[in-house]
Amino acid sequence: MKRIYLDNAATTPVAKEVLEAMMPYFSEKFGNASSLHSFGRETRDAVENSREKISKKLNAKEHKIIFTSGGTEANNLALKGVAFANREKGKHIITTKIEHDCVLNACKWLEKKGFDVTYLNVDKEGFIDLNELENAIRNDTIIVSIMHANNEIGTIADLKVVGEICRAKGVYFHSDACQSFCKVPIDLKSFPVDLLTINAHKIYGPKGVGALVIGEGVKIDPLLHGGGHELGLRSGTENVPGIVGFAKAIDVIKEKDVEHMKRLRDMLIEGFSAIEESWLNGPKGDKRLCNNVNFTFRFIEGESLLLYLDSKGIAASTGSACSTRAVEPSHVLTAIGLTAADAHGSLRFSVGKENTEDEIKYVIDVVKESVESLRKISPLTKK
């Protein structure tokens, strides 16, 4: 059976050129980048060249690039690291209700440790209210964390505007840019962002590597203590092949790929819009991430639809997480105002640069049939 992968927001395949760039750093150039001998020097050069390349991509000359094990670690480092290093300033943190679980759960943990967290509301398209943000900033606020592009509904926040508000109030601004990096332009010279999370495996790079980009003068403590790697902010022997692959991956998605993904995205949106009692979640047009489609198909449950599609070779994703008793509706979809039942009936399709128009046409047909079949089983379907 032909398989169609529409879950590129979960992860992407490693691009051929990325894998080729990484290969020498497993068995041939294997030295510990902290060693003084020639084996160490060649991998140190590889790590520093990679850092330089990523720094240029972000126009982040003033920032430090701290390599981590991925987006989750970088987000944890940003929040916990800044919270603990700035306790004398205050204990207040601001974030939104639609962040990735690693940000929300890090915040919940910080609450247990005595910090106070405000979770900003979002409107029906997933945008925060800038006045609400401004009013939420207090004298004891230390950091604001707002993601760049939402992983479930593709809403793109305006980093420049949010950053300017934070800078004017003298609080740090962190943004999780795992979904947007290399798809939406990020210029740290003109965006007032103090901390930025990026990772490799959403941009055709390897899993297990990411980075926290940290502005000059930001006070932050490490999570991992050890040999003092990465300016003492992330101890542990550098993942050299991963870092080299990460730096190579930032060239994979070209402008034309972004345009191609937008076209496929809009084809899916148009095709699904013909299905009754169904709607797009998140904004349309330029404020939506180029590869994200999130649709509610009422009266059916997302996991069933996902597995129906899987039986036809199509890979999509639900925002729901299974718990022991039942299924929790997506926190993002409930935050934009969906009922639990409608949130359960939602699916995310995230296109990649290799998808074709023919694949998208096939997917639209199969989704239409599958929704119809499942609605025949559902007791919620209107007669």
Partner: protein
Amino acid sequence: MNEGIRYSKKIMDLFLHPKNVGELKDADGVGKVGSAVCGDIMVIYIKVAEQAGKKIIMDTKFRTFGCAAAIASSSMLTEMVKGKTLEEAEKLTWKDIEKALDGLPLVKTHCAVLAIDALKAAIKDYKQKLKGEKE
């Protein structure tokens, strides 16, 4: 929470090709359980007839809003109770459904529990209606 879910072939077959989907217009008992908030709603319909002094479930149908395990569990339940006496049907447990499905992932056992609850609700409904007729 993040360990992923794997279904048996039997569950997938029954989920993709469920049996007894629909409603019984002249049902003798209807049982509806679950809620949209939890992500599962099951409705079971039963038709009961008396044969040689025993009450037998002659026909069953179901409608389910829920995951693959919920759809497969309700379909399996309707297969299992058809032709059984009410007494026999009342003895069924969620473990019987789990066994018939060649196992359920741990986080999905509540689907089999829900199917049994729906059956119990349908039988209760039937008994109440019967009582109503006699009175």
